[in-house]
């Protein structure tokens, strides 16, 4: 039961982007197309799962004072692995995500979960937390990217979905569109939350 709880809370109740508001930089930067969003989401999920497992394994031998540098080294090691694997097997995706792959190291979600969850829970529940949070992150990225890609280039995952006469709203895939889309999505989340609590 608890395992399932940890697994599902990342989607709605503790969604890392819309509710906890962590990891904004990659969310806004790579959500120009659904393809990028999926790539980024899975890269971050992999790092999150692995670092959560390792950090909860070593939580008893980690000195409290230097725990943050230790977490960062663990995370950076996995990020380097992802970086090299992606460069080797998916060079096009690696190129379009660019600097945001090494920047997964400073993605607040990963360090945040290490600090808030993995260093005081068992390996198994940290694994569930990593999977749940990672998929929640991917899921939210895909939502933002879907809106931006359909409005901005009239396609979804590369397929044409808008009629031929549709004139793409270029601003949606540029920087301002990212901020405004996420702003409205968060407003909607808040509206849903307020309705439920009333």
């Amino acid at each position: 039961m608890t395992f399932l709880n940890e697994l599902t809370k990342g989607f709605i109740k503790e969604n890392p982007i819309f509710v906890i508001v962590l990891g904004m930089c990659p969310t806004l930067a790579v959500s120009t197309s659904v393809n990028n969003a999926i790539g980024m989401g899975f890269a971050a999920t992999f790092v999150l799962i692995c670092s959560n497992i390792i950090i909860s394994m070593i939580k008893d031998i980690t000195p409290d004072k230097i725990r943050i540098p230790i977490y960062i080294v663990v995370i950076a090691a996995f990020v380097s692995i992802v970086d090299m694997v992606m460069a080797a097997y998916t060079p096009a995706l690696h190129k379009s995500l660019g600097i945001f792959i090494p920047l997964i190291v400073v993605n607040c979600i990963i360090l945040g979960r290490a600090e808030a969850f993995a260093n005081r829970n068992t390996v198994l529940s940290s694994l569930a937390d990593g999977i749940g949070m990672g998929l929640g992150f991917t899921f939210s990225l895909i939502i933002v990217a879907t809106i931006r890609e359909i409005l901005g280039s009239g396609t979804w995952l590369g397929f044409k979905v808008m009629p031929v006469t549709y004139d793409p709203m270029l601003v949606a895939i540029l920087a301002p569109g990212a901020f405004i889309t996420l702003g409205f999505l968060m407003g909607m989340m808040q509206m849903m939350k307020n309705k439920r609590s009333r």
Partner: protein
């Protein structure tokens, strides 16, 4: 174009055209988190300028004389983040000992900077950036780029904080209060900054 002209070009790019926050999406967490009050935004901005300049210098040296020299580029991410974390810790200790008043002003923000992706972003981009003629950045260029990027970050942080302080008194729909309106504001600001892209230097 002389060296001064190049520097002007770099300054315009870092502060306006390719602003780290609004067009490269780096450093958004502090941008959205610490922009509620003007004085805390100022403190954060100063701390970021300082750390970015120092981090650019150190990571440039480490990259050139350690990583590239011994063919260890694949360790770049780990080496840079460790350098930045150690640097922030060191700066914090030095300021605490020698300038208590400065420490009081910046203290809270310093640890946060380790996970500010703009700092790591500048360090990584400095190793990849080139001038128009294809030459790589020298040590001085890298340090200046770090400094100017910090200025660009501080500029938009202060602008944002100024607007958000006034927004406190605005009559907003309940659901849009806080983060949503902050993001939409950032979007409008980014739109305004797009106007600078037309500049040809």
């Amino acid at each position: 174009m002389g060296y001064l002209g190049k520097l002007f070009f770099m300054a315009m790019t870092a502060v306006f055209i390719n602003n780290y926050v609004l067009s490269r999406f780096l450093g958004l967490c502090p941008y959205l988190g610490v922009s509620k009050k003007l004085d805390s935004a100022f403190g954060m901005g100063m701390a970021v300028i300082f750390v970015m300049t120092m981090a650019s210098a150190f990571t440039y040296l480490i990259n050139t004389y350690l990583l590239v020299a011994y063919n260890l580029q694949y360790l770049q991410t780990i080496a840079f983040i460790l350098t930045i974390a150690a640097l922030v810790q060191f700066v914090e200790m030095v300021i605490q000992k020698n300038a208590p008043s400065l420490y009081k002003a910046l203290g809270v923000y310093l640890p946060l900077i380790t996970t500010n992706c703009a700092v790591l972003g500048v360090a990584i981009l400095n190793t990849k950036a080139t001038w128009n003629d294809g030459t790589a950045y020298t040590f001085i260029d890298a340090v200046l780029n770090g400094f100017l990027s910090g200025i660009g970050f501080t500029l938009v942080l202060l602008l944002m904080a100024g607007i958000r302080e006034r927004l406190e008194y605005a009559d907003l729909p309940v659901n849009m209060k806080g983060m949503p309106i902050g993001l939409i504001l950032a979007g409008v600001m980014a739109l305004a900054f797009y106007g600078f892209m037309g500049f040809k230097i």
